[in-house]
Amino acid sequence: MTVSDFDSYRPPEPERRKRRGGKRRRAGAGGRGEVPVVPEATFASYYGQPVIKPPPWGSPIAIYLFLGGVAGGSALLGVGAQLSGRRELCRNSRLGAFGAIGAGSVALIADLGRPERFLHMLRTIKPSSPMSLGSWVLTAFSAAAGVAAAAEVDRMSAARLPLGPLRRVLQALEAPAGVGAGVLATPLAAYTAVLLSDTANPTWNAARQDLPFVFVSSASLAAGGLGMLTTAPEHAGPARALAAMGAAGELVATRVMKRNMDPVAAEPLELDGPGRLLKWSERLTIAGGVGAAVAGRSRWLAAGSGAALLAASALTRFGVLRAGLAAAQDPRYTIEPQKRRLAARRRAGIVHDSITTAG
């Protein structure tokens, strides 16, 4: 930093090393291979250190986002099949919904810092916390899906479950439980988008308008895919239709979402690992969606399309989660959009709401 006559004798300074797992990157120059979509603007930062922190959410959370969507969509298929008398689709969807939510809940608990305290999620109801509301939705949904699935298992095993007098209770509760799971299915599929958007994370927060639409579409196509995979084609018509609509919905919603976002905040969705995940998700969505639309009675085509759609949904969730985690590592994504919106407000004559004041 000092300037003296002897500076010319000094050997060139080596490039700064990355430390702490790449936490302290130089501002704007993250050493990534791809060229950023938006030209790099100059901005000041504190030694390239991130302003916000990424939440400690690893792969289990992405798996939960995926499985929660599968469970919600499957419960919807289940209640539709229940009301329209499609036995096979109803059975498979109910089992799918309970299996997915069961595994998803385990993933969710595994990611807690203190898993033994997971029941603390239910010690209060807090409307300002999407995680709190979601925990209640998840709990109620799991109970309803569990009853419906238990009734199916009992029927499949020809009433061999050791239920005794409870069998009658189970049979009486089966239909209301199926409907109940269907009612809670859409909040279950949509709340995770609010959970991600209701944060200071620049990418997730900038996506707040349209992320719920991406997530419910992803849930629909995944559940449709699961139905196509598990149910004979002659009974899986609604699953194919749901999958095709979900695929179309996700392709549109993702584009609208990116267009409505601040271009800098949207960048992590297109760069590096998360960008590749979302690109592959898009390809698989197109392939699976077309497959669902044309599969008809072909069992193998339907199964292949269904698997592609499930994979596409999982990739979407991993991509969105990791894009946010990546955005938190680079101060540029926090500082640039904030500076821009502050400057825009000042240009518009709004000066009363700045955190920095002259006095």
């Binding site: 430390r19 302290r24 539709g80 810092g113 579409s217 919905g249």
Partner: protein, 330 residues
Amino acid sequence: MNHLTESPQHTRHSGYPRKGFFTDTSICIGCKACEVACKEWNRNPADSQYELLESSYDNTGELGADTWRHVAFVEQNREHIEAARESGRALVSLGMPGIGPPGGNGQNLQGVDTTPPDTPDFRWLMSSDVCKHCTNAGCLDVCPTGALFRTEHGTVVVQDDICNGCGTCVAGCPFGVIERRSDGVVGTKSERDFTPGEQAGTHNVGVAQKCTLCYDRIIDGQTPACAQACPTTSIKYGTREDMVDTARTRVAELHAQGLTEARLYGANSQDGVGGTGSVFLLLDEPEVYGLPPDPRVPTADLPQMFKRAGLAAAGMLAGAAAAFVLGGRR
């Protein structure tokens, strides 16, 4: 804000005034006594391997689960100093409300002489950062267990025995302050007690941790450890009202000396987080110190997000209904 966001007004019945810090970075000498005092008092574990971070004299890095005070060091040359002075002057001429000391007149700094006495070729910015204890706290709003709560002193504190480490607050904080403690091992209650002369065990592992504004000290009428240890009174502690008044007086004083780069951070109750409990006097743009230039509590937009999610959910329901109509042929 909206009806969902929490704020210190909710605990007005406590009868205690809201407490806060005023960190005057213009008199910080970078001694890090606040960091040491904080770690000692709160028995926070070491936060990393001892390493040199190549960021001036700052080898602490950032605020986190184990670091509740962090002194930032920024080295600037004449060019930076002049830019800072210019951006501060622009801020003044925006004509924001509340310029000048309380009760004083607003001043026009267009004509103020900013040439030396002391425009140096080089300066060090030193600033002791801390949890902002926001008026509308993002971490508190999104906490699902109620572990984060508003104390009777208007501060935001984690209840160690309630938090289950879900990590939502980490994402909810616009300042990157709160973090889940991950290092060390879980100790039983008896192991967590401190034995003089021995290394204390790491406590509260897996739980979100941040500055408590020394809740255990202020309920006893004591000053928080960092403010107590600060040798230059750069860290001041008191009721938030007093802190804001002191800050306004100080910034006017610096402006009158021609130091137009001085500005306040967090004193405005109409900003995105409703004003902060910890007010700062900065000598450059906030991002230079690693602070966000326009933070906004995420729950401010939550009602709108719920509406969009409701619309999406309705769309999904309609889609499923349509699927049974379209896929109706068996």
